[in-house]
Symmetry: C2
Subunit: 381 residues, 2 copies
Amino acid sequence: MTDFSFFNPTRVLFGRDKWRLIATESRALGIHKAMLLYGQGSVERSGLLHNVQQLLEEAGIEVLPVGGVKPNPIYEHALEAIKLAKEANIDAIIALGGGSVMDEAKGIAVGALDEGELWDFYERSRTVTRALPVITIPTLAATGSEMNGNSVLTRGEHKYNFSSIHVYPKLSLLSPELTMTISLKQQAYAAVDAISHIIEGYFTKQSPNFLMDELCEATIVSIMRATEEILANPTNYEPRAQFMWAATLALNGILQSGLDRFTFPNHALELPLSALFDIPHGAGLAIVIPAWMKWHWPQNPEQYSRFGRRLFGVDAPKKVIEALEEWFAKIGAPTRLTHVGITHNDLPKLAHLAYDLAKLRGGMQTTYTPEVCLSILERAL
Amino acid sequence: MTDFSFFNPTRVLFGRDKWRLIATESRALGIHKAMLLYGQGSVERSGLLHNVQQLLEEAGIEVLPVGGVKPNPIYEHALEAIKLAKEANIDAIIALGGGSVMDEAKGIAVGALDEGELWDFYERSRTVTRALPVITIPTLAATGSEMNGNSVLTRGEHKYNFSSIHVYPKLSLLSPELTMTISLKQQAYAAVDAISHIIEGYFTKQSPNFLMDELCEATIVSIMRATEEILANPTNYEPRAQFMWAATLALNGILQSGLDRFTFPNHALELPLSALFDIPHGAGLAIVIPAWMKWHWPQNPEQYSRFGRRLFGVDAPKKVIEALEEWFAKIGAPTRLTHVGITHNDLPKLAHLAYDLAKLRGGMQTTYTPEVCLSILERAL
């Protein structure tokens, strides 16, 4: 158990129809004029956007709806939204959508109170010191963004992130039934994404941590079970609820507490894939994780055996990785680069971009050289 | 997964020597004059009290040391401390000690800003609306008080509690090495207490919850393992750290989230024991839990089998309860009322006091009648 600090001031209201509390809760937070940020239109089609906007307006809160957030949210779109936020003098951002909407909302919340270049924070040349309050109403559980300080944006071929206590949502209204509107493909990617957040620390930490191993395995086994139940019966509330809270817990800091010098190699390897080829982050992770594991397991074979015994009833690291890859395929995720149209020729560039990300995150670049990144990605062909 | 809200605004700094941050952190919180609350003198003897006071004073913070908090903290002592707090116009309470010190600190924090009868909050005739900021430096991990809003005090034969968002510690400095000063007996009681916080919801919830079952079992198995390692090697830091964080997580709200109509029967049954006979709370729980389980298991036999398979490799509920009782005995906790000098003649009064507590907590008094409480306690003889 290495030293750590834990501080997660997000208030969560969890349950059916909790999104309907948006107006009373926004008023209680003293909000007068909110940007209502959303994505590609599914919340328009479902009527949710209209309903949220109406609730807010009936409560006397002015609403500035801003749509068009992409699944891999684009820096330039955030800049446009920041311009609108400043012109309209909004005092909060309400994110209605998945991880991309929540992540971009955090970028806008920072940019709205800043006169410099927003990208500085993603490049880590400046540190966030303030932000507008963010409220989230997730329609997809996967990224954990509803209960952490992370924001990822894509600028050209770079998909970078920052993390700050100032953008933890003040409030997240988690209504599991909202996630029933997403496709089963998206649900599979969501499962891989949530699992990936746990796997990173679980396998890369530099000292044993029995408590965290146990808690991580408990969460992964629950995510897997809930995913299978959702795919078998998509309109059943209970597995949606189990999945949503498990995905939130996967990256709200608890499962990372006390882990010794852990890193996020799978995210460094994946982000260039979704940035360059605009594939879903979860799909990219399902491809990268088994490849990374095939390269990584000799560094910590016992951890792989432990993982396999607990989750798949197998012991040998190679069998464990095979079982995970098969499970990704079973739920409908791609597991090879060729499944998403990426070929051998694309790998050097992807490897170099992954190395760029490794350089941004302390302690990774000596291990994840361009050569190592290339060698891992080759295993994913 | 039933509807729930989760909000835990306590900031935790965890690791060796974190208590030394008390002065800089107190200044950052704007504290000028703090009550430094402690217990029966072990922090005086170890020099910790002196060191903390010195750090604070060197940073220009006035300190009002108040000692004498008992292991089962006494209402009248809290009232005296409140009087001192008001006279000295203190602006924060720093709790240096175990759960009793932290719990009493919360009561003082409320009373210092209130002109009415403090007991109202424990009797639940009034609700807390404000409190002075509380900071904790635990020297014992067990109650979870360092990261929740609970406070338990004893007044005569009544040991009651309240819970409020206003008394969540603003900051808790968790230094696992401080817990090395407690006796191994106390460590055993601490283990039982931490486990009891998980067991209550795990067994009494009214609907299945796979995620919570998994997380609860993960935490209990970690507490048990860490306890055995501590008892075998009391000066080893790592199991102390594992135990401390696990005990905090046991009652910080995560493991209770989404549990359907759960109750705290073992606490209702135990609190009269520690109130009337001044035995340690954890010792009382080690006696009550197996007795309660022997009465309760037919209501949910599958949960007992699940628990037993995961923790002891046994399946039949009676065997499972036996295994837990044996484990309590193995670590050095009493498991029968007679072990602490309580006899058959004491039971009617204890049963009635337990029923009084059941009445205070919604939904328990129809099940836990004086007759049922008596019948459970008889199993503990």
